[in-house]
């Protein structure tokens, strides 16, 4: 293992350059921010409208379902801030630009996530503010344990999100076009993380727990935090909420090993 110095230096340089472009792309920044707010605002409005019709969903109040959303947003915006550019991999490969990452002395995945671009932590900040409001709605009782579980859910959840996106992007080493697959996985994630897992059938529950473990991003930690053990016919072990960092680490490791195989399979382009 070579020295880590170039990694943190590059990473610091990457953030410096991101902020350098902020001034130049101010308009773009605001458009993104407004887009993000509208997107999440409408998702939250949908939840609110749905909850108006079914005031209690398997024992979850509307505040608690919104909390579920806030927790998911926290993790996914952390993933979006740190690892957003992994989604560019298929495009880099197809356009022949990926070769460059393979001839430099740092891990190509690290280079991908530290590609200077228009990446700012704006969404993470908004998501944090939103979470701060929502935790009041559900009267979260803060203890060291609660804070630890939340941190684990946020970071571990970001890694779950990242791992799934990395695995999908890695397929690009074998398959030229995978826009459809990416779209399917993304909707699976955004649609099924909105409501308590207990309202879905067994196939969905299994898929979201053990294949694409999005339930560990928000549902299991929220169940633990809000003491929701029995939900209709579905019983949730409160320990599951603590497993998010472990699941994140496992899935990320698997995705990374898959990625390494992908690198050796890289075929580049003809010109």
């Amino acid at each position: 293992m070579a020295s880590l110095a170039p990694y943190w230096r590059t990473y610091a340089e990457f953030w410096r350059l991101n902020f350098l472009t902020l001034a130049e792309y101010r308009a773009n920044f605001f458009v993104w921010l407004v887009f993000t707010l509208v997107l999440h605002g409408s998702a939250i409005a949908t939840i609110w409208l749905t909850m108006n019709r079914f005031p209690i969903m398997n024992g979850w109040t509307w505040q608690q379902v919104v909390f579920l959303y806030a927790l998911y947003w926290l993790a996914s915006s952390l993933n979006g801030t740190l690892f957003f550019t992994v989604g560019d991999v298929p495009w880099h490969i197809r356009e022949g630009r990926f070769d460059r990452f393979m001839v430099r002395p740092l891990d190509p995945l690290f280079q991908i996530i530290s590609q200077p671009g228009q990446i700012w932590p704006d969404e993470l900040i908004v998501a944090t503010i939103f979470f701060a409001i929502v935790q009041g709605l559900v009267h979260l009782q803060w203890t060291i344990g609660v804070a630890g579980l939340l941190l684990g859910a946020m970071v571990g959840g970001a890694f779950i999100d990242f791992a799934i996106q990395l695995a999908v992007a890695t397929l690009a080493f074998w398959v030229v076009r995978l826009d459809t697959l990416r779209w399917v996985v993304m909707s699976l994630e955004t649609d099924f993380t909105r409501y308590p897992l207990s309202i879905y059938n067994r196939v969905v529950r299994f898929t979201l727990s053990f294949i694409f473990p999005f339930a560990f991003i928000n549902y299991f930690p929220a169940s633990t935090l809000l003491h929701k053990t029995a939900q209709g016919d579905y019983a949730v072990n409160p320990l599951l909420g603590w497993l998010t960092p472990l699941i994140g680490a496992l899935w990320f490791t698997a995705a990374y090993l898959f990625w390494r195989r992908g690198l050796d399979h890289h075929q580049s382009t003809g010109s």
Binding site: P6, A12, L17, L20, R97, V103, L106, S268, S271
Partner: protein, 349 residues
Amino acid sequence: MIISADRLTKQFRTLRRKEGPLGAIATLFSRDYEIKDAVRDVSFKLDAGELVGYIGPNGAGKSTTIKMLTGILVPTSGTCTVDGIVPWADRQANGRQIGVVFGQRTQLYWDLPLIESFQLLRAIYNVPAATYERNLREFTELLGLDEFIRTPVRQLSLGQRMRGDFAAAMMHEPKVVFLDEPTIGLDVVAKENIRQFIARVNRDRGTTFILTTHDLADIEKLCARIILIDHGRKLYDGSVETIKGRYGRNRTLTADLNCENCDDVRITVPGANVVSREGPRIVIEFDRDAVRADELVVKLAQHYELRDVTIAEPPLEAIIRDIYQHGLGDGSVAARDGLLVTADVETVS
């Protein structure tokens, strides 16, 4: 010896597309692959400090070879080492010691001023501050970067961008530099600037270069040695002088005669032919080995008054074009002369 390639082979496997109305679906489930031999059994050795031209027609396998030497592609069979490292087995160690310029594709950051790309590369390659400062100063001077170093890369002209790319590839002082068509699309002045830069770095720092190009003037100005490949196979590996000596045996003699009926001028020397005439100017092509130039001139002078005479050897371009078109098959002059270099005949290391 700094680079050794041993029977490098790369096959690309592409799905054969199915025809017909359900072609796309059929292709999806098809196992019908087409195998393309991009590079086959290519071996060579390079000494540190060499500057070698790697040439061949379009699709010959040049870029594919470079990609194996730089660790981008894993070969189907065969192996190679770059200063003792197998590139694809340890990409990061290899990355530290090589520099790469792809003429078609920049490594600079589009939205950032040139200098910021250098800063980022400095961090990526962990270049010590003093080394970075010294190289930046030297490259800025040699490549004239100061006019545009603060300009965002997307606003640079192709020539400016290429100069920036060269500096970027050399900032960490690589031992070996791979150049894949580095002068493509440049004007004569920019080409000359780049060539001088390569020659200078090669001379002053002993950096080894492998260069692919379709502009043979690059080779004539820079390389003592060429490796020529076609259809993935190595055809020739040796000095530029030798290939010129063996293949470029034709000479052209251009003479301005003092003649009245210039159209009647005849040459009766066997092996020499008049290829064009234009007023008093006559151009004769002859085989250097069959005809002695002095005899030809004497013969001409016996019959006509000579105002001006020049004898030229063919440019490398014409020689290579001839090889691309007619190959070096077994019946060729090259094979008869024992010039066809096979994998086991190598330069000393």
